[in-house]
């Protein structure tokens, strides 16, 4: 038995954004959180929960499973800000400009050592005119429509000596030992 939630439409759904809601699904199941968005294609709700330990967990409730949605309260400015910034930037780069510059130079010289044509373009590195590397210049910061070049450059950067320690959520191989080069 489905309620009318998926039929409300974007103009109604958007009114629930930035509000704390409880969502009833199935029998006797409830999810609570700050509503970040409603997908207009599937009517799914995205709920954000700011945990006490400082972490943020997100729950997506499928539109087809929704029985009831109730608004509890409106977000204050601080919460609304937190909601806005949690996903807006895909990757936040929290390094200072000097550190970034050093990293960029490090990656650039490593590529040059491996005879890969690379140029600096502002904060980005441009490789062979087909690939862009953005801060902080890790393998996952490479962008290109050329799969071969992308693959090669990603591998190269991955094997660059003196690479800082793995980032848990993005490093593809956290078991790779890091080794320093004198």
């Amino acid at each position: 038995m489905q309620c009318g939630w998926p039929l409300l439409g974007p103009l109604q759904w958007i009114r629930y954004v930035n509000k704390q809601v409880t969502v009833k699904v199935g029998k006797d199941e409830e999810h609570r959180g700050w509503l970040l968005t409603v997908d207009p294609v599937s009517a799914s709700l995205v709920l954000v929960d700011f945990r006490e330990d400082g972490g943020t967990s997100v729950q997506v409730v499928m539109g087809h499973a929704v029985e009831e949605v109730q608004v509890l309260q409106e977000a204050d400015e601080e919460t609304a800000d937190r909601l806005r910034t949690s996903f807006m930037s895909l990757r936040t780069c929290s390094l200072d400009p000097e550190e970034l510059r050093m990293r960029r130079r490090g990656v650039r010289s490593w590529l040059e050592k491996n005879r890969v044509p690379v140029e600096e373009e502002g904060d980005e590195l441009r490789v062979a005119g087909v690939l862009t590397i953005r801060a902080p210049y890790g393998p996952e910061d490479c962008f290109s429509s050329n799969q071969t070049v992308l693959d090669r450059v990603q591998r190269l950067i991955q094997t660059k000596p003196d690479r800082p320690g793995p980032r848990p959520e993005t490093d593809p191989d956290p078991t790779r030992p890091s080794w320093t080069d004198p």
């Binding site: 699904v25 207009p40 996903f87 993005t170």
Partner: protein
Amino acid sequence: NGVERLNMATPVSVLRLPKGPDPNSRGFDPKSPRFIALCRTSISTSAASEVDSAELQREQHARSVLRETFLRCLLSMTNKKVQFHMYEKVKVEATFGASDIDVLNFQVSDLHTPIGVQKEALIRSQDVISFTFDV
């Protein structure tokens, strides 16, 4: 003691379920009444918008804001561990890959099931109640 417990993380070979009715054997026939009822691939504009173009514009703007935020959310899930909460009290964990455009199927890797780990799998969104992950 050298006996190892049967490890839940042991990969299992892909299960091939029996073929369903033609023409599409892996799920619903897109022309069947069931598919049409359950797997709506788009939600049309409201009746009010069809008469009033200012209303339509507002609706489309809301639609795109909502969708963009949702897509960014999906993007942030890539390669993260996600817990799927499904019907019949089924809870499974997997690494999120991608969703299709209509949010009908989720592509995941390393799906932990009670019979072992499926290296790659597609999860039908119709079977999912909710899923959760840590940012």
